[in-house]
């Protein structure tokens, strides 16, 4: 819908919307997380849901004990190589549409245990992560910021076209490969379709400079 026409109509007191906006509004306002904590970040996640920070304000207070009822997986903590297959299997069991927030240094990269033999170097090797939160552990505000970022991402998705969400794409895979325990490491050690090192372009560095911690 033409944005200018929409604004003109709203000036006249006529509220218009599109099915896409309505659908995305519904999706972003009822993201139910999975009750799933792996390490100390889970304590911050629990604090986020409690009265002081109150994640319920964003429609996400209903932590589901079953992956069948959950929309969002907050990977809160260190993912050991022993736990990784279970995490991927739980993600596979969640119904579409589903999202992942990798919370904390360990979940996004292995964190302080990156050089260790038994810790996965980032859960994005196996499942598609929507929002990464740095921090060790991130404060509840950081988790809420990630949650709002996820909501903005959901809000801006188009239901048709090349950038449509994964669950509306018939060709997108329904499940991701669950790693097995190999002789020395998990096999496969990463999902090559998902995991690739993002090149840092000069543009990215520019935006980092503008919105980085120095300015805010």
């Amino acid at each position: 819908m033409d944005q200018k026409l929409k604004i003109d109509l709203s000036r006249q007191g006529i509220f218009t919307t599109t099915l896409e906006e309505l659908y995305n509004w519904g999706r972003k306002s009822s993201v139910w997380p999975l009750t799933f904590g792996l390490a100390c970040c889970a304590i911050e996640m629990i604090a986020t849901t409690m009265a002081r920070y109150d994640l319920a304000r964003f429609g996400a207070e209903v932590f589901r004990p079953s992956p069948r009822q959950a929309d969002l997986m907050i990977v809160a903590g260190t993912v050991t190589k022993k736990m990784a297959p279970q995490v991927v299997r739980l993600y596979n069991q969640m119904p579409e549409p589903k999202y992942v927030i990798a919370m904390g240094a360990c979940a996004i990269s292995g964190g302080p245990f990156k050089q260790g033999y038994n810790v996965l170097k980032g859960i994005d090797r196996y499942i598609p992560v929507d929002v990464h939160i740095p921090g060790c552990p991130p404060r509840p505000e950081a988790l809420m910021d990630a949650f709002i970022t996820l909501q903005k991402k959901i809000e801006s998705q188009h239901l048709t076209g090349a950038d449509r969400p994964r669950h509306l794409d018939r060709d997108a895979p329904s499940e991701f490969v669950v790693p097995q325990f190999g002789a020395h490491d998990l096999e496969p050690s990463k999902n090559p379709k998902l995991w690739h090192i993002l090149p840092v372009t000069p543009k990215d560095q520019c935006t980092l400079g503008e919105n980085g911690p120095g300015k805010n």
């Binding site: 079953s66 992956p67 069948r68 297959p85 279970q86 995490v87 299997r89 739980l90 596979n92 069991q93 119904p95 579409e96 549409p97 669950h167 509306l168 997108a172 329904s174 499940e175 669950v178």
Partner: protein, 126 residues
């Protein structure tokens, strides 16, 4: 059954149908909505029975040894016996002969059960 009877109960019947419709219509709408719009991406892991992230293995209907079951039953019987023995001991001096004999028969039956379980080997743990 005359027509007056039907006239009286017709509103109730209509209300009952309306109530059933009120309950069923949202369910039917939700079902139809999901048929049309829900993104279906089934898979072997997603359709698995067990949902804790771990894989289920072997059958659930396996034979298991009932030793602990018998042990628990015997424990329960003697536990209840202790409850009966306490008032028996408290009121012992004031009991009539009939009551004392009845209680002793009760005890004898239980001792007999104890002897039976002992000889059966149930009290020996696996």
């Amino acid at each position: 059954m005359n027509s007056g009877f039907i006239d009286i109960y017709r509103p109730i019947a209509i209300l009952m149908i309306a109530a059933a419709g009120f309950a069923l219509a949202p369910l039917a709408m939700a079902w139809l909505w999901s048929k049309k719009f829900s993104p279906r991406k089934p898979g072997p892991v997603k359709n698995a029975t067990y949902e804790c992230g771990l894989e289920s293995k072997e059958y659930s209907s396996i034979p298991f040894r009932p030793e602990y079951y018998l042990y628990a039953i015997v424990f329960l019987i003697f536990d209840v016996e202790a409850i009966f023995l306490l008032p028996f001991a408290v009121a012992f001096s004031g009991l009539t002969l009939g009551a004392a004999i009845a209680m002793l028969i009760f005890l004898l039956l239980l001792v007999e059960g104890l002897v039976w379980t002992w000889r059966k080997g149930i009290l020996t743990w696996v």
